[in-house]
Amino acid sequence: MSVKTYGLIAEFDSPAAILAAAERVRDSGYQRWDVFSPFPIHGLDNVMGLKNSLVGWFALAFGGSAFVTTMGLIWFCNTFDYPLIVGGKPMFSLPMSFVPSYILMILGGAVGAFIGMIALNQLPRWHHPLFGKKRFELVSRDKFFLVVGANDPKFSETETRKLLEQSGGVHIELVEDED
């Protein structure tokens, strides 16, 4: 089992510090890096150039197809496969089919948003190279981490380390991953 370099990790103390460091890393031309924090930091999406999340489209696709499917199901059940006159009402009409379809659209949208979030985040995963770092356990507490990936074209152990040091990072360590 060989060991390969995953990246360099640096620790920061405050949201402002990590935001400044992220700006600096971006301005130095790095592309494959990420920030880890206990909560979402305002303004970081812009610094990292993250585009609008696709989760909304997942919700729309799931919700929309749930709506159409339910409409079709109601038509199939009460009009096509087993037509039954109840109270002289029409076999198929919007007032009767809209409400269940609308409800299942909400269900579909919610499931879609959840699945979208999980899929886009590549979860669930049982292992992450950063979980091996003892200090990384503080990421959910009050510390902020910046990781520059070894697969970044500009990555160099000495130069990147220098940059992270200049940005105010402490406990700069090399992260290794089992191949």
Binding site: S14, P15, A16, A17, I18, L19, D34, V35, F36, S37, P38, F39, P40, I41, H42, G43, L44, D45, M48, L50, N52, S53, L54, V55, G56, A59, G63, L73, C77, N78, D81, Y82, L84, V86, G87, M96, P100, Y102, I103, L104, I106, L107, G109, A110, V111, A113, F114, M117, L120, N121, L123, P124, W126, H128, E137, L138, V139, S140, R141, D142
Partner: protein, 474 residues
């Protein structure tokens, strides 16, 4: 540096316009983390056992006994009979659905309107929703009598070729309640993921590490993960908000589409939504006030937050009062003699007059006490009021259901309703199950959304001096 700091100070609004911080006494991120996880990680306090054991007894002994007896014997063990075919089962169904609604309103609607104070109570309100909907969903399933045929309500292809009849709102209810349960559970669980990751990172024993690792799904808290997470959270909050208005509307339609005087009213969907929210705020206060004290969360769930829930309770009380007045006005102005009969008998009848008076006294009169700040800040009085609100709303459903059914169009058709010990036992059982699940939740999962609270603190704001920002740069 000092100069720019004073600059920032002069730019800030005057003291009386400034928003009070969400968490009092200027607590830092580390303190918050320790404080908010302390209850799940510490030793189980004695009060937890004192509350848990009776609740667990009702949930695991009384409730199954009642269910087994009722399902194996038949609906006749309840008080339901002709002409009052809906009794405690439907009263309690509507009551539990109602309790759920305020949770969704707090966690989803106040999130969409960016009310920062809701972060501290959102999780507890959501948990209340999830457990209350579970209890609500139980009632229709057993109320159908032959519970083993409950699957008839779902469009399952079978050899008889039977399908559900979608023209009935009762059928819509099946979908509404199940959707409500699933969506609120998803919303609750998704919000929990980062906080479960926090418990995973702090876990001391192998067992805790393993379980929380599984539940956290490998969450790392990377900016990309947060980015998708926040989007999904907004979408789910929006969808949950739709459910606040939909689920109780459909429950209201169950009644409104019938021909019965007292039920056949267009105001019913709105009536049930407002009543549900009002009752739910009562339950939120019943849960929050003792837990805040027992778990020492005074700095986090501040009196200001409770004050705002009280104001929302007052607002929903005024809305429900308006609907009561409107209902009586329409009964009189509509000129329908049956309708007038039912409504006059709600207050002046010879059998169930007390229900109408309890409902008006509590839901309209007593809630007006919340106008006074001194009452809102006296948590003991607020707690008593909140319990009364739940009772008052229970009697509202009693008045609507039994009060309309027992005397319908033909006097020859009139009858009485009296609950049996099985009715009472089943209700106590669901109350026990609700509180048991709630106590388990606060013991094993973070009851305050830690990550969310951090993100609205000045310490979590990269543009605030406490968040590390230098001077006036923003």
């Amino acid at each position: 540096m000092a100069e720019t700091a004073t600059n920032l100070e002069t730019l800030a609004p005057p003291a009386e316009l400034r928003r009070a911080p969400v968490v009092e006494n200027n607590r830092g991120l580390g303190w918050l983390t320790d404080k908010l996880t302390a209850f799940t990680e510490g030793k189980t306090p004695r009060w937890w056992w004192i509350l848990f054991l009776p609740a667990a007894f009702f949930a695991t002994v009384v409730l199954p006994t009642m269910l087994i007896y009722q399902i194996s014997t038949g609906i006749g063990v309840w008080g339901n009979n002709h002409p009052v075919m809906w009794g405690w089962d439907i009263i309690n169904f509507v009551w539990w659905v109602g309790v759920a609604h305020a949770g969704t309103l707090i966690s989803a609607m106040l999130f969409l309107t960016r009310q920062h104070w809701r972060t501290t109570i959102g999780r507890m309100a959501e948990a209340m929703t999830v457990f209350a909907v579970m209890m609500a969903g139980l009632y229709p399933a057993i109320h159908i009598g032959r519970a083993w045929f409950a699957w008839f309500m779902f469009p399952v292809p079978t050899y008889e070729g039977m399908w559900p009849q979608f023209r009935s709102p009762l059928m819509w209810d099946v979908f509404a309640v199940n959707t409500y349960l699933m969506v609120s559970t998803l919303f609750w669980y998704m919000g929990l993921i980062p906080d479960i990751a926090l418990l995973r990172d702090r876990a001391k024993t192998r067992m805790r590490k393993f379980i929380y690792s599984l539940l956290a799904l490998g969450w790392t808290g990377s900016a990309r993960q947060w980015h998708h997470f926040e989007k999904a959270y907004v979408v789910l909050a929006g969808l949950c908000t739709l459910l606040v208005f939909t689920v109780s509307s459909i429950v209201g339609l169950d009644f409104a589409t019938s021909q019965l005087a007292g039920w056949h009213a267009t105001i019913f969907p709105l009536y049930f939504v407002v009543g549900a929210v009002y009752c739910g705020f009562g339950m939120v206060l019943v849960l929050l006030i003792p837990l805040r004290k027992l778990c020492h969360l005074e700095d986090i769930i501040t009196t200001r937050h409770l004050d705002r829930i009280c104001k929302l309770t007052l607002l929903s009380s005024l809305c429900i009062t308006y609907i009561y007045l409107m209902e009586y006005y329409i009964a009189w102005y509509g000129g329908n003699p049956y309708e007038r009969w039912v409504f006059s008998h709600r207050l002046l009848g010879h059998t169930y007059w007390y229900g109408g008076w309890i409902m008006l006294t509590v839901n309209f009169l007593m809630a007006q006490l919340l106008w006074f700040k001194r009452i809102r800040q006296n948590l003991k009085i607020v707690f008593v009021l909140a319990v009364l609100i739940n009772i008052g709303m229970w009697f509202e459903r009693f008045t609507i259901i039994v009060g309309s059914l027992y005397q319908d169009f033909l006097p020859a058709n009139w009858g009485f309703y009296k609950q049996t010990w099985v009715d009472i036992g089943t209700y106590m059982g669901t109350l026990g199950a609700f509180f048991m699940m709630y106590l388990l939740f606060i013991r094993f999962l973070p009851m305050i959304p830690v990550a969310e609270v951090k993100s609205v603190l000045p310490q979590g704001n990269p543009h605030h001096p406490l968040g590390g920002a230098k001077g006036g740069k923003s």
